[in-house]
């Protein structure tokens, strides 16, 4: 079971349908079970009972999650794999000692992959949908996996399966979510082809 955490400034249906449902659609299509929770209602040990957590993005104007960064301290020792999307990557970075800087991108951007990794497409570069006003300077020791012309687009923890992507993989890059799920359930790198990985038995 995957926990999809909503990062909207409030648990509004308009934000859920735009930023959580498309992620849930990819996860469901891949064969993963998921459940949704707004970050304000997460229990003390949010990962308990889940195989992985995906922190979903939120609206361009939304910065509410930045004022409540203390609620995400459980990510410091996250016991399960985490994929942070956009606002989720910002939260993941901040909790681990990274910093934010203003950097706005809206629309399709070229993302250049800097090193081979389990979650990004196995390509030198690809197009991705960006919708953010801040970018992250990654936490000390973290690996920068990919960049756009403007800023860092993907990071990973040096040892743990914690990944952040600033672009929105649910838009045209569902394969990133699929590869993350493949890593969670099969403990291996996805093959990078959409729909190639079989749903995990017992989780479909």
């Amino acid at each position: 079971m995957i926990l999809l955490a909503g990062l909207g400034f409030r648990d509004a249906a308009l934000l859920r349908s735009e930023f959580v449902r498309p992620v849930a659609r990819v996860a469901g299509h891949w064969g993963a079970e998921w459940s949704y929770c707004h970050y304000s209602r997460l229990p003390d040990d949010p990962a308990d009972g889940y195989d992985a957590v995906i922190l979903c993005g939120t609206a361009l104007k939304d910065t509410g999650y930045l004022r409540e960064i203390g609620r995400f301290s459980w990510l410091i020792e996250a016991p399960v794999p985490v994929l942070g999307i956009c606002a989720g990557m910002q939260v993941l970075s901040l909790v681990h000692g990274g910093t934010l800087r203003p950097a706005c991108e809206i629309g399709m951007v070229d993302v250049r992959v800097l090193c081979p990794n389990p979650v990004l497409p196995a390509l030198p570069s690809f197009q991705a949908y960006a919708l953010h006003r801040y970018s992250c300077d990654p936490p000390p020791g973290w690996t920068t996996l990919a960049v756009s012309e403007t800023c860092v687009q993907a990071v990973s923890h040096p040892h743990l399966p914690l990944f952040g992507v600033l672009f929105h993989p649910e838009v045209r890059n569902g394969v990133v979510i699929e590869r993350f799920l493949s890593l969670v359930y099969h403990g291996k790198e996805g093959e990078g082809e959409e729909g190639q990985d079989a749903p995990p038995s017992g989780h479909g």
Partner: protein, 227 residues
């Protein structure tokens, strides 16, 4: 939150409007009317029916104009949204964008410049689920234009009901057309919605079709009870 809904008169904008009404206050509909029928961004058949839709829903309409020059159209939209902020105090804009990154990015940029929220409640919704919900939740939607094979003239003015959805599914499988017409395969016009107080009645219309392109021109329409 007070929001304004960008409205083209078609199913996606009015369905998005309904989504917004469930939790937020829809203070106005926002429509840009192009002078130029070839308008790149705003051209939609039967755009004039939006005025009736706004009355039917009891929601004020903020109507902007555009000369329909591609490079000016974003500024025209931005000006109209700014007018909606001034007149109705909206803090956010709602669109019916489904998957068009082109369309969504442009509205997002306008909202950023005006410091407004931007909501896209249909964004990457499952096409099948969305269309199923649409035909089963009290909307009366007709096809107002077609622009690709295999949409023949019988589609012009055709009601989007369960049988039509069945045909659309077949087309999607066989011809690769988008189920909700995301690729511009067909356009729609909403005649009734769950939040309309009156339905729209078409008095006179003319269907023009040639070689898989056609428009259902609504020449006369009114609100039921108004006649």
């Amino acid at each position: 939150m007070k929001v304004g809904v960008l409205c083209s008169g078609g199913k996606d904008s009015l369905f998005a409007c309904m989504c917004a009404m469930q939790e937020e206050e829809v203070a106005c509909l926002i429509t840009v009317f192009p002078d130029n029928p070839e308008s790149y961004m705003f051209h939609t058949p039967n755009l004039h029916v939006v005025r009736l839709q706004a009355r039917a829903a009891g929601i004020p309409l903020v109507a902007g104009t555009s000369r329909g020059r591609e490079e000016e159209e974003l500024a025209d939209l931005s000006r109209t949204v700014a007018e909606a902020v001034e007149r109705h105090g909206i803090e956010g804009v709602v669109t019916g964008a489904l998957q068009s990154v082109y369309q969504a990015s442009r509205v997002q940029a306008i909202c950023r410049d005006l410091d407004l929220w931007c909501f896209n409640p249909l964004w990457y919704a499952d096409p099948g689920e969305y269309m199923e919900t649409l035909v089963s939740s009290g909307f009366d939607v007709i096809v107002s234009a077609v622009a690709s094979e295999p949409f023949d003239r019988t589609w012009l003015g055709r009601r989007l009901d369960r049988a039509a959805l069945q045909d659309l599914r077949r087309y999607a499988e066989r011809y690769g057309t988008s189920l909700p017409g995301e690729g511009g395969e067909y356009e729609t016009l909403v005649l009734d919605a769950p939040f309309f107080r009156h339905r729209i009645v078409i008095g006179e219309a003319e269907a023009v079709w040639q070689n898989f392109r056609g428009v259902f021109h609504v020449k006369e329409a009114w609100l039921e009870g108004d006649a």
